[in-house]
Structure formats: C-alpha cells, structure tokens
C-alpha cells in the first residue's frame, strides 16, 4: 500500500501531515511507502527519513485544477498511489473536485462533500448551528467597512474578528475592529466574520466521521500551553461526556465524512460549550489521539480503502503532548534534488 500525504510543513504553525503519517506507521498492519506531497521545497517532513520514503513538489491548486491533476497523475504513474490523505484546509476544495478523476486512476480518498465543506465554512457555521440546536457564538458577516457600523447594534465588545480561512483577533472597540478588518481582508479576502467573544477555556475534539452520521472515534483535548500565535503547543486528553455528545451530534447533523477538528470554548459562567469552528481535516495534534488509543489516521486510510472499521469506544484520559522544534540537518544535494527535479528520495 502506498499512501500520499500533504501538509508536511511542520513549522511553528504545523500542518497535520507528519503526525498523520506517524499514526499510519504505528499501525502494525501497515506496510508500504509514504509519499510526501509538498508545496514548498523546505517543508521539513520531506527531509525526515523516518516519515516519508519519497516526496514530490506539487503546484498550488489555486494555480488551476488541470496542472494540479496532471502533477498528481504523473506522481501516480511513478508511485502507484493507493490513497491520498489531504490535510490542509486550502487544498480540500481541489481534491474534492478532482475525486472522481483520481478515483478513475485508482486513487482513493475519504473526504467530506463540497456541501459539507460549505456548511461548516466560517461564514455559514452560525446558520448551521442555529438550524441544528448547537450552541455557538452570535456572528455577523462583514463585507465592507460600512458593515462594521452594524457591529455595535448586534454584538457587544469585545468581539472576535476572523478571516474566512485563517487569522483571528480580539477587537475591543469599533476602531480596532476596522483595523483588523483591513488587515485580514487584505490577506484572506472577504467576508470577515465578527463574532461574539465567549470568555472561557478552549477545548478541541478530533473526530473521524464515517459519512453516514456516525463517528468512528473522537478524542477531546484541552490546550495546556498556547503560543503567541494561538497555537496549542501542549495539550492533555480529557474526559467530558457533554463535549463528546455535542461532537457526535455535530458529526451526525452534517453526516460528516473524514477527519475533522471541532473547536469549542467552555463559557466560564454557564459551563456551556460553544462551537467556534469546524476544521475540515485532522488537526496537527492528531497523534495525541493515536497515543491515547485511537489511531484515527489509520482508520481513515482503511475507510478510504473501503474496509469495515470498528468504532473506537475508549481512549486514555490524561495523555499529554508537548510539541518541540528540532533542527534537522541535511545536505545541499537534497535541497537541490527537490528544488530542481521536484522529487526527493529518502530511501
């Protein structure tokens, strides 16, 4: 079996590729090659001998679906890929669009549908939650500077100002909201989401939906250490039935297929969980779930292969992950290989 994985950008805001591969390689049933699909020749995962066997540079899907597909087709002709596991938000649309054509080549995936992807998008999440009785912060879509004037009528400060794909800031007044609007919209475009700020602690859940409303597994985590970019750098598995039930309800309401990360905040006063975001892929901390007893990446691979997968019923509470950085030393020759030829062999 040959599995291709994206998101090997194991940097300060890490992609989930390396931990996904680590989970797959932990499975005793796994034998085969791991192919890294990278967008940048300095993605660290490509240089990790224990992680990938071979790596290929691929073009950004924003550059057009055809060159993207042609490159995947070429890689498949060399490597006979059985399954591709995309792990980045921004590439999902392209992979979903190309799924039928990749299937024809014999490449399988286990992805949400475009409809699911749209439902959970940051600009539509609020209406999805309202329709399905899921508690979430009140949100407003901001499409112009004029819309910002509506904020004080609908929400009270402080509020969260979020980009459609990435970035979020806390604005304490309309002037700050305006400045963050400009900052985010110039980078990620419109709309911008203005969201009620819920004071409390953040909890995240990694889940794998079977596409029929069921969850194959789910593990909740509380961040123990957060970087100045808001990224969890350490976390612990926790036990909370309400959180697991709420997650199962969300996955069932969406009929979600594939990996996802649900982000919640537990309001200090009411102890209620508010759903902040649904990320349509495994998080970078997914290996914590593997270590706690749920190998969700390997389960996803099996689902993609059309195999029956048993639900995970338990996980170990109190497992901790602590992320660290490590200077990987390599040779110019390797950098040259990936830069000039677009391919890097680690075997």
């Amino acid at each position: 079996m040959n599995i291709a994985v994206t998101g090997l950008n194991n940097v300060d805001n890490p992609g989930p590729g390396v931990p996904v591969i680590r989970g797959i390689k932990d499975a005793s049933e796994f034998s085969g090659k791991i192919i890294g699909l990278i967008y940048d020749s300095l993605e660290p995962g490509a240089y990790m001998k224990d992680v990938t066997n071979k790596n290929y540079l691929i073009p950004y899907p924003a550059g057009g679906l055809e060159p993207f597909f042609e490159r995947l087709k070429y890689i498949h002709s060399k490597e006979k890929i059985d399954v591709i596991i995309p792990t980045l938000d921004a590439e999902l649309y392209a992979f979903i669009k190309l799924e039928p054509r990749l299937n024809q080549l014999g490449i399988k995936m286990f992805l949400p549908t475009l409809e699911h992807l749209n439902f959970r998008s940051k600009d539509k999440l609020s209406s999805f939650c309202d329709a399905n009785n899921i508690v979430s912060p009140r949100s407003l879509l901001i499409n112009s500077l004029q819309d910002i004037r509506k904020i004080p009528i609908e929400l009270s400060f402080p509020i969260a100002i979020k980009g459609i794909f990435y970035d979020a800031y806390i604005a304490n007044n309309i002037e700050e909201a305006q400045s963050y609007f400009n900052k985010i919209s110039s980078k990620w475009g419109l709309p911008i989401i203005a969201q009620e700020f819920i004071k409390g602690e953040e909890y995240n859940v990694v889940v794998l939906g079977d596409g029929k409303g069921g969850s194959i597994g789910s593990v909740p985590m509380k961040k123990l250490f957060v970087t100045d970019k808001g990224k969890g750098w350490a976390g612990v598995t926790i036990e909370d039935k309400t959180l697991l039930d709420t997650s199962a309800k969300i996955i069932a309401s969406l009929g979600w297929k594939g990996g996802a990360e649900l982000e919640f905040v537990k309001e200090k006063e009411s102890n209620k969980f508010y759903l902040l975001e649904i990320n349509p892929r495994f998080p970078a901390w997914v290996y914590l779930a593997v270590a706690a007893g749920q190998n969700l990446p390997f389960a996803l691979y099996n689902l993609a292969m059309g195999k029956e997968v048993d639900k995970f019923e338990t996980y170990e509470v109190g497992k901790i992950f602590i992320r660290y950085s490590w200077d990987l030393i390599t040779d110019m020759k390797k950098f040259e290989q990936i830069t000039v030829q677009g391919e890097l062999n680690n075997d």
Binding site: Y203, M221, K222, V236, T237, I238, E239
Partner: protein, 84 residues
C-alpha cells in the same frame, strides 16, 4: 454539618498531584491539602476535617477553620467539589 461531594473522577497521587480529567486542569497540593481532599473523598464533614487537622498538625482552631473553609471554597470554585 457541612458535607461536600468531590468529583468522582478527580485523581490525586501520593505526591499530592491532582488531575481533573473533565477539564484537564492539574494542581499541586501540599501534605495538608492532600489530606483534606482525601478526607473529602471519604465523605468526612468540614467539622471532622478541622478536628483531624488540629489533632495532626500544631495549629489553633481559628486558623484551621479559616484556612480549611478557604481551601474548600477554592475546590468549589474550580468545580472540583460541590456542597451537599
């Protein structure tokens, strides 16, 4: 008689390290703190705990009452215990 219920899944080690699985919070307790939590876990009332602490440690009743009441209030504040 003031009685309290300590969360059933609250884990406390011999070293006084306490982990609350529902929230992921952890706390380090000294010997007296550990004793108090363990007594609460075995359904001792506040008054019984105060008596035991006065007997075991060289402390006057007024200070014991004040400190133990304050400690239990902190446990309640962290959702680790509730008053029955």
């Amino acid at each position: 008689m003031d009685k309290y219920r300590v969360s059933s899944n609250l884990a406390i080690s011999e070293n006084g390290f306490m982990f609350f699985p529902a929230t992921g919070d952890s706390f380090t307790l000294n010997e007296i703190g550990s004793n108090i939590v363990n007594m609460l876990k075995s359904d001792k009332t506040r008054e019984e705990i105060i008596e035991t602490i006065i007997e075991e440690y060289d402390i006057d009743k007024h200070s014991a009452e004040r400190d133990i009441t304050d400690f239990i209030a902190q446990l309640i504040n962290f959702n680790l215990a509730e008053e029955l």
